[in-house]
Symmetry: C2
Subunit: 359 residues, 2 copies
Amino acid sequence: MTSGPIARPGDAIGILGGGQLGRMLAMAAADLGLDVHIFTPEADSPAARVAKRAWVADWNDTAALKEFAASIVAATLEFENVPVAAADLIEAAGKPMRPNGRTLERTQDRLAEKMFLREIGIEPAPFARVDEPDDIQKALDSLGGNGVLKSRFSGYDGKGQVRLKGKAPANAWADVGAGPSLVEAWIEHDREISVIAARGSDGAFVAFDPPENDHSGGILRRSVFPSSAPQGVLDEAVRLTKRLAEALDYVGVLALELFLTRDGKLLANEFAPRVHNSGHWTQDACRTGQFEQHIRAVCGWPLGDPTRHSDGEMINLLGEDVLGWESYLAEGAKLHLYGKRHAANGRKMGHVTRLRPRS
Amino acid sequence: MTSGPIARPGDAIGILGGGQLGRMLAMAAADLGLDVHIFTPEADSPAARVAKRAWVADWNDTAALKEFAASIVAATLEFENVPVAAADLIEAAGKPMRPNGRTLERTQDRLAEKMFLREIGIEPAPFARVDEPDDIQKALDSLGGNGVLKSRFSGYDGKGQVRLKGKAPANAWADVGAGPSLVEAWIEHDREISVIAARGSDGAFVAFDPPENDHSGGILRRSVFPSSAPQGVLDEAVRLTKRLAEALDYVGVLALELFLTRDGKLLANEFAPRVHNSGHWTQDACRTGQFEQHIRAVCGWPLGDPTRHSDGEMINLLGEDVLGWESYLAEGAKLHLYGKRHAANGRKMGHVTRLRPRS
């Protein structure tokens, strides 16, 4: 692991991906005096509109990736499904890529991710592997007849997932893309919490106070901070996240989602090698937000102070929720809009943070 | 005055000027879902690097200004010495300009500014007009022999100013540009405070808690928030600022600098029709910062909640101060760097905010 600065104010850093996470990372980087270059297949992307330069090209456009790599001193990404080959190409060009292709490989396969978590002593929710259509019912039965079928290699925000109860429907295999997948047991959890934390290139580890998250249809709707779970549980969640970050030799912000079961046990859902939706409130409620924290880590700079000065909640604005922008402004909430041109159903268009004094 | 929204998320707004204030305004606007277009004579400007588009052209390039105006729904500015004709051209193109040319005229002439303040019952520090070299000594004598000679029409951050005590030096007239100027009495003030406040297009008025400011060589070095001046004095300062905003029929953020004399009197120094250096801490210490507040006002949106969640201080990084960036990061302070390529002596390169819990 390279310790110490790999970028200085005035240098250009690269972000793979042009969505809202890239947009908020780009602004945090600019606030620290960096120039930002974006690489994305999407024209007129949210991130490109706040960056100095953007390369609009396909992930397999090697020439464009090389030109992009030559223009920056280091790179990061805003979603974990960036092709591993693209991340590897940045590193091959001699530019540090945080996270790198090895970490991406671990998270792009849900099965490998869960086996890795188990291997390092972070118990995932029960799951069973599915390689062909007939495996589905067997897997479901082995998990008590209540679960979710998910593709191993794609899908996010509830896409590519089928809720199963009792007898699996005939179309389930097709609905997840008719490929390698798995069934996760449905956990009657008391709550879901997440730990958003950063590890610096010097090994320093700093976590935000864990929020508590409400999902619906596989999409995050609301995060409440701080979680009202017992402090001992929250401390244990942070310890598990530290273990994960160290096992990955990770540099940057990462997030670990955990179920807290009704009998008080923590079970891992999944982890994300990036800034996380359930941490979007940190930029409004903490001295250092997750976007700045990630940029600091990627650049090899000291991590920032995560002290939380306010309590509150973060609400995702999905699809036409965004039409309520004026009412959010009028109530005095913090409104963040991502500049997306079309409010498709369920699409993350922005978020709102409501703050109150820390209790 | 036009009340109500003149821009919606997804629209492009324009900023005249490409410096650090434009940069921070542009990021605040993007966070609210707006696209930002910059107009500035400066190539590779700090603001352009976080904006969707930039026009690099002279202020008198009418064709470029018209093209710029056609691309936006409304405009604002980041410094008050934008030529009035440029602001007028935006309005003539049918695009609201906030503040407009009439307000700029009031602030571009120091004499007109002071006479206007006096007219509306905000007492400026004593001053005397200087139209020719011989006026200087007379003016100085009339003010007790202790003052500062300033050009009426140019200068900022201590430039174009000569400190006078007893006998004015022969080169003073040349040093302020050998043109219309004035002498301001040197005030033995207890402290300088400033009020940063916003007026919405609906007439709503919202002020931040006034900070207390230290200058050196005519340049702001440090702002402490909140000011330790008596609450009655701070309330009066806010009342004066509200009077000023209403007298100007102002929409946006403005700042009024005031001396608090040793005998407890408030005397106006000057006002700025824009976001202000002494308010740079608001983005870190308040629910809504001055940059977001200004964008809300300019767009005709409801003003945000200025509640201050933290106490602290803001330090300007001038010239080579910026070389200390790593130590500011290491101490856990909030660091903001403006992306300027050259650290000229006295040049504002960034600022640092140190926070502590609100007492």
